[in-house]
């Protein structure tokens, strides 16, 4: 074998090796035209996003208060809930009903599509207030979700993806969307 052929084969195999390495490390992405891609999913999701007028509820001065605002509204329930609860938290912060900025970390919907899991980054209930105020804060969130027609029946509350433990209120079970005020 000629020395030139050896150099040629070495060069080709080296190039192939580099291409394979780049492919396995996802530096090179091969997208076939007949398979669905994330871009097409994003495009279809984007087309389903629209603006929606929502009503947010909170308890202040011993009565229900409400405020309307516009948010982006997705088709998926978890995205709807995420934007709705985030808007509600912002309103509560503006009204000084919660201390500091609270983030909703994630929203999960159960397989039955009836139960939602809301995970917050920290405790948002006013611990110095009467138990009634803490309860009404939760009731106002449930009322907001129920009024805006998300289509779930129960909500579970979590902090940092672990069950919410409060001294006064029990969150070991899911809370019905109608709350307990009527009872």
């Amino acid at each position: 074998m000629k020395i030139t052929n050896i150099y040629l084969i070495s060069g080709i195999t080296c190039m192939l090796g580099m291409c394979m390495f780049a492919y396995f490390n996802q530096w090179i992405i091969i997208r076939l035209p007949f398979t669905s891609s994330s871009d097409t999913y994003q495009y279809s999701s984007a087309t389903n996003i629209k603006k929606k007028q929502i009503t947010l509820f909170f308890w202040k001065h011993n009565r229900w208060q409400q405020e309307s605002t516009e948010i982006v509204w997705h088709n998926e329930k978890n995205a709807q809930l995420y934007h709705l609860v985030t808007a509600w938290l912002s309103l509560l912060e503006d009204e000084s009903l919660i201390q500091g900025e609270i983030f909703l970390q994630s929203v999960l919907i159960s397989a039955s599509s009836q139960e939602a899991y809301l995970s917050f980054d920290r405790d948002f209930l006013p611990q110095q207030d009467p138990l009634f105020n803490k309860w009404m804060l939760i009731e106002s969130l449930l009322k907001t979700i129920s009024y805006n027609g998300i289509g779930i029946t129960h909500v579970r509350f979590l902090i940092q993806h672990t069950p919410y433990v409060d001294y006064h209120l029990d969150f070991s079970n899911a809370w019905p969307i109608g709350g307990f005020l009527s009872s």
Binding site: H168, D170, P176, G178, F180
Partner: protein, 216 residues
């Protein structure tokens, strides 16, 4: 030797409880670990304990046959469901959880709660059947509701310096797992000694329930 003392104490306690006509358990909020809310430069756990001890003393003076048990000592640490376990094992007749907060409004409020996790479900369950701990309150559901209305009526009638709100049925954590009638009172106090005024009304309300229960 300590084992003999323990069994002696257990026998005395058992015999005492069996002869008592009515057993009331008072749960002052907080413990050695959980300070509770800040109430006029002190902690809720201290004020609730003072209040519970005061009620215990008053009831003991008025009705010596009534056994009043406190769920904790000042230095004790309470685990989750410990109080419910304690109350169910002693088979208490009535359980009251006392909570106190600093009232910022001009008129203080007093809230009353009973446990409920099932707003639509109101049957009375059998004590012998198996059920989850969050349904234990349904065993004495009818008595709980009856006494609740009596308490509420009394607190409303005597609401001279406070506003009474309730009774509300909701998942009140300190009451979970208790089989016998159990209520939580969240009391707003404007001054540090305000709890005494509430305590006198609570003693009278409790004596009314106890007297009526003994009569029946």
């Amino acid at each position: 030797m300590p084992i003999i003392y323990f069994f002696y104490a257990l026998c005395v306690a058992t015999s005492t409880f069996s002869t008592s006509k009515f057993t009331l358990m008072l749960d002052p909020a907080g413990d050695a670990k959980h300070t509770g809310r800040t109430v006029h430069n002190t902690f809720e756990r201290g004020v609730t304990l003072q209040c519970a001890e005061y009620i215990q003393k008053k009831i003991h003076t008025a009705c010596p046959h009534v056994r009043v048990v406190l769920t904790r000592l000042p230095t004790e640490n309470i685990q989750t469901l410990q109080n419910a376990n304690f109350a169910n094992r002693l088979d208490v007749d009535l359980y009251i959880s006392i909570h106190i907060y600093e009232e910022k409004a001009s008129t203080p409020c007093m809230y009353m709660y009973r446990f409920s996790y099932h707003p639509m479900l109101t049957p009375t369950l059998s004590k012998d059947s198996l059920h989850t701990y969050d349904m234990a309150h349904l065993i004495c559901n009818s008595t709980t509701q009856k006494w609740c209305q009596q308490f509420a009526r009394y607190f409303n009638e005597h609401a001279s310096f406070y506003t009474f709100l309730g009774p509300y049925a909701m998942p009140c954590a300190p009451l979970i797992g208790i089989q016998k009638p159990a209520y939580a009172l969240d009391i707003g106090i404007s001054t540090v000694d305000d709890w005494k005024r509430y305590s006198d009304i609570m003693v009278d309300a409790l004596l009314m329930i106890i007297t009526e229960e003994n009569r029946t």
